[in-house]
């Protein structure tokens, strides 16, 4: 977790995006002029379906169009994306694979679908650690430590994805990131497939890891109530463009853009951050 200091950008900036434009054919599906995530910071991108928020998150990992075989051709990405010191737009596949998982980790929306159905959780953990050069006893202790840090029983590693609950699977995904030593978690709607009580567990885990270990989070969500409990800064996206951005407290208290106002007003009893503290 000390690698953030080594990054050429210094000052702990883990993600730096400037003038990012993602196009499919002629259509712009995401356009983000500026986005920074620093060490220990939580930045949220909010917006409705199709606003381009997930695309932005995937672009940061170089994963836009990774399944484009299914008919989406001609994904074009321009602008600057630097993640943990790596220029994602220009980097070769080997360099990208080097940061994926070990420095910038992904947490997906549907937790069980994100885990290989034919593989025990422990096997996935072991293979992922081995991929990044951690093997044997070191791998075992790292895995166990990470699983405990997300409040799971290490016994869970003997199970298959269909044998664990959604909340457990999602916390395991976070544990994978921890075990690999990721400095930032890119979480795509991490709670929207979960029950309300389970949502709270997952958010609590993320928040604690940020506070205790300085884990940065880039959170994509349509759930403003969730965002308000964890995010330091917020970007609001609509139809592929950023309509407003700023510190979370400010944005929720005094939304400038009409669309943001609409979103904020639509949330019943949005807990103000002051009240919560």
């Amino acid at each position: 977790m000390s690698r953030a200091e080594e990054s050429p950008m210094g000052n702990g900036t883990l993600i730096r995006i400037r003038g990012l434009v993602v196009r499919i054919g002629d259509r712009v599906i995401a356009s983000v002029p500026e986005l920074d995530v620093g060490s220990g910071e939580c930045v949220a991108i909010v917006g409705e379906s199709g606003s381009g928020k997930t695309t932005t998150l995937l672009a940061a990992l170089g994963l836009v169009g990774d399944v484009s075989d299914l008919g989406v051709r001609g994904v074009d990405i321009s602008g600057e994306i630097t993640v943990c010191g790596v220029d994602v737009v220009a980097a070769g596949p080997g360099e990208l694979r080097g940061i994926r998982g070990s420095r910038a980790a992904l947490v997906m929306q549907s937790p069980q679908a994100a885990l290989n159905p034919t593989m025990r959780l422990g096997t996935l953990m072991r293979r992922a650690l081995a991929r990044h050069g951690v093997k044997g006893a070191a791998a075992r202790s790292r895995a166990e430590e990470a699983v405990k840090a997300v409040l799971l029983d290490p016994e869970i590693m003997r199970r298959y994805p269909h044998q664990v609950s959604g909340g457990q699977a999602q916390r395991f995904a976070i544990a994978l990131a921890l075990a690999l030593g990721a400095e930032i978690v890119l979480a795509d709607e991490p709670t929207s497939a979960l029950d309300v009580t389970v949502q709270a567990e997952v958010v609590a885990v993320l928040r604690r890891l940020r506070d205790e270990r300085g884990l940065a989070v880039l959170l994509v969500s349509h759930d403003l109530a969730l965002v308000s409990t964890i995010a330091d800064r917020v970007l609001v996206m609509r139809d592929g463009a950023v309509v407003e951005s700023g510190p979370a407290a400010e944005l929720f208290d005094r939304p400038r853009d009409a669309y943001t106002r609409e979103l904020v007003a639509a949330v019943p009893a949005l807990p103000s951050r002051e009240e919560e503290r």
Binding site: I29, S49, G52, T54, T55, V64, D66, L70, D188, E189
Partner: protein
């Protein structure tokens, strides 16, 4: 899934099903076009056989003993067979037999299978159970096996081949249609038709059937090749077409003992089977790729 960038496999397949055949034919991929073109050529050759065959009378029972087993030449591009008939002419006439069998089998088995399948899929419950168990039984017989058994019962002829293969082929369409129809039957427009008091048969044939056809059409074009191969195999075993009909499998069988000495007698009819089955398969694969994308 928030971004429209990455349609998942299952999600993308559904809209394709909803489209009508004509609309998605506009965007078919190159493979399907190539298969269709090749198939069109073969169909054309079959239709025009009496006019383009260099020796049309050789498609039937003509014999020219003095010209037996001549190697390929300018006069006989594919050489001549044991009784002096022009192999090219017989191959062209053979296309008529093979395509006739294919079309007849697919029409019969497709028709029967789709009707039973759509009824099973729409009705569900015990109707579906009964129909599916019957298809299970028929599916337990590989097509060629049941055709063999039936071909023994019926006298060897082209009609026998058609009947035998059709009997073994319909369950595939019944199963396929049933599964598609079952999902179509749960769609909103079927519900609304039911609520409006539209009688069940009308719902089935007006609404469920047309919306279940696309995958069946793809399967039909994929199966054309299989039918051609099975028919040729039956004729090769002496259970199908017989002299003087021009049939590729029969031509291979009649010439097999001459393969080492007179290769052309066996090679060209075999290639004809291969190319025709290939055309069907390429077309079907192309359509399937389009459908499941």
């Amino acid at each position: 899934m928030t971004a429209p960038v990455v349609p998942d496999a299952a999600g993308a397949a559904t809209p394709a099903l909803r489209r009508t055949p004509l609309r998605w034919l506009v965007g078919v991929d190159r493979l399907a076009v190539a298969g269709a073109a090749l198939l069109a050529l073969i169909v054309l050759a079959a239709l025009l056989a009496p006019w383009i065959a260099p020796h049309p009378e050789d498609g039937g029972s003509a014999t020219h003993p003095l010209e037996a087993l001549l190697p390929p030449s300018a006069e006989h591009w594919f050489g001549t067979d044991q009784v002096g008939r022009d192999v090219l002419s017989r191959v062209l006439y053979g296309a008529r037999t093979s395509l006739l069998i294919a079309v007849a089998v697919l029409a019969i088995s497709g028709g029967v299978g789709v009707v039973l399948g759509v009824v099973a899929g729409y009705a569900g419950g015990w109707v579906r159970d009964v129909i599916m168990r019957v298809t299970d039984v028929f599916l337990a017989f590989p097509a060629l096996l049941l055709s063999l058994a039936l071909a023994v019962v019926l006298q060897p002829s082209v009609t026998t081949v058609i009947v035998a293969i059709a009997v073994t082929w319909w369950p595939w369409y019944a199963r396929l249609t049933a599964s598609v129809a079952a999902s179509v039957a749960t769609r909103a427009f079927v519900d609304s038709a039911r609520c409006l008091g539209v009688p069940a048969p009308l719902i089935v044939f007006r609404h469920v059937l047309p919306n279940s056809l696309t995958p069946v059409l793809v399967q039909l074009s994929l199966d054309g090749g299989g039918v051609i191969l099975t028919a040729a195999a039956l004729s090769y075993l002496g259970l199908g077409a017989h002299e003087p009909t021009s049939e590729w499998g029969l031509m291979v069988q009649q010439g097999q003992s001459l393969f080492t000495t007179n290769w052309w007698v066996v090679t060209f009819p075999g290639l004809a089977i291969l190319i025709t089955a290939f055309a069907f398969n390429v077309l079907g694969e192309g359509l399937r790729a389009r459908l499941t994308r």
